[in-house]
């Protein structure tokens, strides 16, 4: 059985459920709308900022502010793509048809990641240009050094978040359990750990904190982060690989 056949089949599966459209369009709308809102507010606020804050002012990163909420929709997308198979029992039909479980999981993740990447890149570019429009005179240009890298990085970040969620869902299987762990983690725990000075050093190695470094263009004043934008994305990739390996081992070992 050729991998292309499995990929085609997974594409049919993913496009034929409503949750794909819903989660992905929610991610797009939330990221863009929130990015525009924060960008507009920041533009008005700029004049009241301290000198220090003005030096750290990063128009590119501000336009990606909606990512923190938009990624939650992508987490739901990633979790549902995998755990729907388990919650509906479809996994038994799928695995009876694709006995090679590695092929099955790889195809599923490839298709969903490809889709998330396309949607993520589109979102990233749209949110950048609309955000910059809201920022007015404080805007950054796409040709500025590091900006294009940040915008493409935003798309990569969204795809990686979806991949990480798929790996976790493959390990945990239950959609409720997976979402119950991933949502609070990315929405609360990671932010808290990253903003409390005692845990900051650990917090910045978490997948979302490390990965979002790719979207920064202006390094904040007295920033001590020991890795650069690509280093941060690399750390995130390591997390994703760990989750996917865990998911693969679980799928291979356990009864369906």
């Amino acid at each position: 059985m050729a991998a292309t056949q499995v990929v085609r089949s997974e594409w049919t599966k993913i496009r034929s459920v409503a949750s794909t459209v819903w989660t992905l369009s929610l991610a797009v709308v939330v990221t863009i709308a929130l990015g525009m809102l924060i960008s507009g507010l920041s533009a008005n606020e700029f004049d009241n900022m301290s000198e220090r804050d003005r030096l750290s002012f990063d128009p590119t990163f501000i336009s990606f502010a909606g990512m923190s909420l938009g990624q939650l929709a992508l987490i739901v997308f990633g979790v549902l793509v995998v755990s729907n198979e388990y919650s509906t029992g479809m996994i038994r039909t799928s695995l009876a048809a694709v006995p090679r479980r590695g092929t099955f999981l790889a195809s599923k993740i490839a298709v969903a990641t490809g889709l998330a990447l396309v949607v993520g890149l589109a979102t990233s570019f749209v949110t950048f240009f609309l955000g910059q429009a809201m920022l007015g005179e404080h805007r950054a240009e796409i040709g500025d050094p590091g900006v294009l890298r940040a915008v493409i990085g935003g798309g990569l970040y969204m795809a990686l978040i979806a991949m990480f969620s798929m790996g976790v869902a493959a390990m945990l299987r239950s959609p409720m359990l997976s979402l119950g762990i991933l949502m609070p983690f990315f929405f609360l725990v990671s932010n808290i750990l990253g903003n409390v000075s005692a845990t900051e050093k650990i917090g910045r190695y978490l997948p979302d904190q490390a990965g979002s470094k790719i979207m920064q263009v202006v390094t904040p004043v007295d920033d001590e982060t020991p890795y650069g934008p690509w280093g941060g994305l690399g750390i995130m990739v390591l997390w994703v690989i760990a989750a996917l390996v865990g998911g693969y081992v679980t799928l291979r070992k356990r009864d369906a």
Partner: protein, 422 residues
Amino acid sequence: MIEAVGLTKRYGDKTAVYNLSFQVRPGSVTGFLGPNGSGKSTTMRMILGLDNPTAGQVTIGGYPYRKLPNAPRQVGALLDAKAVHGGRAARNHLLSLAQLSGIPARRVDEVLGVVGLQDVAGRRSKGFSLGMGQRLGIAAALLGDPQVLLFDEPVNGLDPEGILWVRNLMKSLAAEGRTVFVSSHLMSEMALTADHLIVIGRGQLLADMSVKDFIAANSAGFARVRTPDTEPQLREKLSTALAEAGGQVLPEQDGALRVTGLPLPRISDIAHDTDVRLWELSPHQASLEEAYMRMTQGAVDYRSTIDQKAGLQQPLPPGAQPPMPVPGQGQPGWYAPPPPQQGGQPFAAPQGGPGPYGAPGAPAAAPGADAPNPYAQHAPQAPQGQAQPPAAPPQAPAQPPVAPAPVAPSAPAAPTKPEDAR
């Protein structure tokens, strides 16, 4: 051809399937029977590589399923009618399965027509009834035109027309030389569909023989004898006399007696000699259903008890009769009489011995070699001394055509006797 050798599956300390060995041959419908929870579905899942056996192995055409080349074109399976994503349209569900093995989309519409779902092809399957879900599952199994087909309870939820259709479908698939393996808990359905039977109880093999042999070995006849209700002592007297003449007597719920081992004229003569009047003397044939229930009664895990309705019982309206208890309920030893040959059972139900079940919950009346007449223990009214089986029951063949003893608990490694397996 499906071949299982020493298949065993444990979940924690619960053994779902124990040392199961059998072969499913092409060209015939093989029925897979057993009570609820006896391990049918677990075995099916192991055949399809969904669950890993704890010990032993099962192969299809010589390959373990996970190593089978282009599996969807070789094996089609209906496991669970509800094992589909309810939000996906029926046609898309089948299309995703078809694309896996390079089956053209045209074939999807074909099988939708075969199962009669063409009109709802675009509808989400969560709105489907159980019967429609079964049809969708059967369509998925037929998709790759496979040589080996597995169906787990395919007629569940189908209407009579659908049941007839499935029955004919199975037969025609087998007639084309395919291997068809169908599980069910309905003996009556399997008697009509299957050519060969594999019966399991508590995860162990109880029988592996052709339907013809199964009927020959199990459908014992019996006589129903009714003495005047007004004189119960006559009944006692006749039971004793019949038992002394070598018959086996089993009291029925309504006061009649089931007699095996004696022909009808002889029963009449004995009644005449002992001066007992008879209100009824009629010949009966135990159904295959009863034979199957007797075989599996020791291996039933989930048995209903009589609903006492403690504290909930409505006072009966004056003049109303309380309902008669349903025969068989809460009465494990009730079912059909033992099979006609000497020495009791052709099947040794799993009990004690080397099996994983110490049988703490098993009814003590499980038919077995050490209890030639299991009914004696459950029939306190029946006089002692009738427990000896008859020397040669006259109304039945002394021995079945083949010795149907596929697995004894003491020799679980000898799975299938070749002469049993057609």
